[in-house]
Subunit: 360 residues, 4 copies
């Protein structure tokens, strides 16, 4: 069950990094949504390896092929199966890694769990799987756009370079290769990434994803809270080590008078004056933007020699060759957006019928 996400708008991914293909089956998308392959391609291109000098140089076109669930240009309500071929897998670099455990990777835990693993490119544990989520997320985004919801992500930290929040230019995000909303910060981030790469090392980062237009009332109480689902969603992305909603960890240092968001009327609607809650109160959307931030660790694959052991328990060292991102934050932006979209699409369906007389 662990390869499926969502309850009503749900998807199941499959495939390994160096297998013939990977893919996703999206189930629960409502019928009647106009959809074709070009709808999926924009975000796949944003996630694609080899797109810039701060990403891995593996070249994949990541062309999505829709095999079911669409008829005469519209969704039918039936599962949408999407296939993406692997074309540039080079397994030769992985042969020396077959019988040792790369630090920071899932090699050791996978072997302990299953007794067998596809070591080529990390197999199932590779972030290549995220292409499938991004394709699914593109469908969710299209549905959400129809419902008036839009989603935007950006990088706000790379290593020690943090965006100070002063200048935000939405158009700037896709203009620079790190996806930061401020050009000047972006160039410092890019320098930090290239410096790490030059040292054979890698660097961490953080991403903010925001959803605008979510109406009040989406989300469930308790164990289906919107924030709980978003935390699970973001933490399911490779390399993510922390998730926060609204004021997040800063709230630990605050007082109630600072952190509470006063209510006020704005254009006849009950609104919050500030948004420390990140758009979610009691697990349910308040109508304010839904704001999530998550941290990604520095890429585990580095060219610097590290201590480790072999599968048979001998001490050794490893330099992880192959083609890797020196910082995964920039490519994580469309992935985080996809997960946000998938959670919201699911909650849209979940919420229908919450009260008598509304949807019946």
């Amino acid at each position: 069950m662990s390869n499926t996400f969502g309850r009503l708008f749900r998807f199941t991914t499959w495939g390994e990094s160096h297998g013939p293909a990977l893919g996703v089956v999206v189930d629960g998308c409502p019928a009647g949504l106009p959809l074709d392959e070009s709808d999926l391609q924009r975000d796949l291109d944003r996630r694609r390896p080899g797109q810039s000098r701060v990403t891995t140089q593996r070249k994949e076109e990541d062309r999505a092929e829709i095999l079911s669930g669409v008829f005469e240009g519209r969704t039918t309500g039936h599962p949408i199966s999407i296939l993406i071929r692997n074309k540039d897998a080079d397994s030769s670099k992985y042969e020396p890694l077959r019988n040792l455990f790369r630090p920071g990777h899932a090699d050791f835990t996978y072997i302990k769990k299953w007794g067998i693993r596809d070591h080529r490119g990390g197999g199932r544990s590779s972030a290549r799987e995220t292409a499938a989520r991004v394709a699914a997320g593109a469908i969710a985004k299209k549905l959400l756009a129809h419902l008036g919801v839009s989603i935007l992500g950006y990088v706000d930290q790379v290593g020690e370079v943090r965006w100070d929040g002063a200048h935000f230019d939405a158009d700037e995000i896709e203009r620079n290769i790190v996806r930061c909303p401020d050009a000047e910060t972006a160039s410092r981030m890019e320098a930090a990434i290239l410096e790490a790469r030059k040292a054979g090392d890698s660097v961490g980062g953080a991403i903010t994803v925001q959803a605008d237009g979510v109406p009040p009332g989406w989300g469930e109480p308790l164990y289906g809270r919107l924030d709980s689902d978003l935390a699970a969603a973001m933490m399911s992305i490779n390399a993510v080590k922390g998730v926060e909603i609204g004021s997040g960890f800063r709230a630990a240092g605050m007082r109630g008078t600072e952190n509470n968001d006063p209510f006020e009327m704005k254009n006849g609607e009950t609104s919050v004056r500030t948004n420390n809650a990140g758009g979610i109160l009691g697990g349910i959307s308040s109508g304010a933007p839904v704001v999530v931030r998550f941290a990604v660790k520095p890429t585990s694959s580095i060219l610097i020699e590290q201590d480790t052991v072999t599968a048979s328990g001998e001490k050794t060292t490893v330099k992880v060759e192959g083609r890797h991102d020196p910082c995964v934050a920039t490519r994580a932006v469309p992935i985080g957006e996809a997960m946000m979209a998938l959670v919201l699409a699911d909650h849209w369906r979940l919420g229908l019928g919450s009260r008598i007389g509304e949807s019946d």
Copy 2:
């Protein structure tokens, strides 16, 4: 479905803050576990209101009554239903709040979602629900103890007072009323809480929960990752705004060489030298302690006047009277432990049968 948590070891909670009772049904506990009501009481007492001068003064005994699933002192494999009566509910203080929205609370979002809400004590959105989780968690802890796993939580931050990590004394945790592992820090934390209370204000905090003895191989890949489930679990607790695993948000500022945990042999076992991963690699336990940290916001209910609006859209102000914790961090310790235990118990069952020849 939103009042149920877990897949195989799962529980469903019910009840409102000022209703006659609240409770939980635990399904999926294996048969044969010795269990009686005293097993639940220790953690219920740690979570109980009115236990010290830094918590709310509502007095509840929180006596758990087991109504099913136990026969002659052992679990039967059938659902364990636990009932906790509400005895000291005082709804009078809530009458003035019936038609306005308390900042930081779920009043507004609940009304937008359901069109009706039990305003007494916050109804279903009250943290009183967590008594039910703690009772369920006590069963999970007992099962885990049988499997060699123990769980320990503590407060590491209250407002601006952060524990520096220098001195850790496990026995100290329950000796001081804030549940900090260092006595000196604990007294500064207590002072910070009492100062906030005196000002009619509240203060946030952070909690670390650690599980020792989890063998390598627990957890699922992708959407059933142990870290993903833990993030959802902690974020489902009232007032939680952020969750991190291992190095967490610090990882964003680190390099791969710093954050990667080298493997080494220790007592014949493959082990990690450091534990930035928080005991989880690729969503699966590595054998190192599983470490989660989460932030709680300052209590939303404060005695200081705040701007808000009424249900009919008029501007007003509110001071939230009633009995409230000035800082929820200390009582969140057993709740965080319970959620950790419930996630781990679930993953223990989920993992059985992962490979041929092991469990058949």
Copy 3:
């Protein structure tokens, strides 16, 4: 997970036959539905033991107590917890059965699965659990009534006495103690039951449940088919051995020309001329009445001596004393209705959002 039924309108039951109480938690009922305990009592009374000379003589009031989820007479959207106390349990008759396996009962399989069982009154395997479903079903029925759907069940077979289908009088059903829609057949059924009881034996039967007013379009394709869910629902009732939809097993002997239901226009609506499909095509309701029939085996508890073995493998014989129904068909009517209602309520919610532009 096996004590929970349903996806969005779902319920979880708990409790043993001779424990202090049993109950159910209903999650997913929309907010705003008027509800109080009297709504549950009518069907509980129809299911209650001791109601007539053809049922067991155990006397239980089966008073349902609502502990949560209802505020000022209306549902709130939160879990509805219902408690029913056991009052007339007499465990003395079960002591001799503690260490042997009653034929037809779950004694043997429960011990093989869990290694422990509450032998008193069958413990969790007792049909007493169905009181909890009937209470949950009463809520579903109330919701369905609001949506224009009504449900009616009746006995159509007791042993070799089959109702010929000639005379159907809905009002007759509750007028006779076997719940047959034809008075004359009812009296022959009653005689068959009493004759079996007199012989210390028991007799099987069959029940039809019909839902009227289900609009076209409820149900899901493939593994969420309305008929698939109904089959699971009915087969989950104690003693049920077969389920059929519409023409059911008769269809095996038919030709397409006989079994196909031609479409025609009736009052401007596309309708079926006959209803061999039982109101379901491709897993989805057609607008015609949804018709399910199920068979119950003769009660396993009989006073006639039968061969069996003890838990330690010795040959022995057993006469099952205690208070038992000689035929469970009559009390199965409200249970079957409850399960039909619960499946339909779930599908109502599931279907919302199936297409763009309808529910958004």
Copy 4:
């Protein structure tokens, strides 16, 4: 969620009858199982169209391609994605059916639910989807074989020809084209099918599926009963109208003394002398063969003119041309076996950890 079946050993199917391909993703198969494409082919060939003169003449090779989850000949514990190309789809015959409702088919209900449908070959409602289940079932069968469980299905009724149960020859089943265990009955069944085809009509039938070697203790109580899951599984197959376990509907006419299966010791094991229970007591396997029987209606697509209406509500008639099975029972045998296998594989995993000390 409706395109997924199972809890732990689960699968998700996708694809339309005349789309480019169909497929299935199997999640939860344990690691280490030897598997290659030839393992899937035997059952796919048994289900394949065009295999004999009593089946449809559509020619499909139904070659299964495994795209993931297998590494160096063994399963890895990760999702197994299987792709089957559609090669002989001929949509021209369906063009006249685009805007009318074929009696007995899902055309009308699909349009009412989704407002759009792929009319070519029935789209998603086509029994072509069952190829995907058969592929998934072949994996489940291989796992079960490893656990000592084997599954066998056969046709016991075609129209009015019923097998009398007298002679059972397992080897005969695949020797005749109707899959009946008695050669003489098989030839009468074949005649019945060919006669119906000649008349442009179709005929129903019934199938029995039996699992041998299931140990006592598989299955869950209440809503996860083995019989309940089997009923749902069989009823999810196209054209199935009834399901029974063991004595099934005959139990309605029986007395307890006849239907109860006495226990006895056989080779040191507690066993049942008869098997009216069909191997399941209280939802849990008893160690006796698990026996399910299901009825399939006569194929809805017939060449005889039938009354119907168009999508715009006009009266019309229809003869359903195209290539159809005159009786679906024979091809339903491997499908029923697959569903039995999938239910059992799921219950094997579900049951692990049911009691303390067994699997930990």
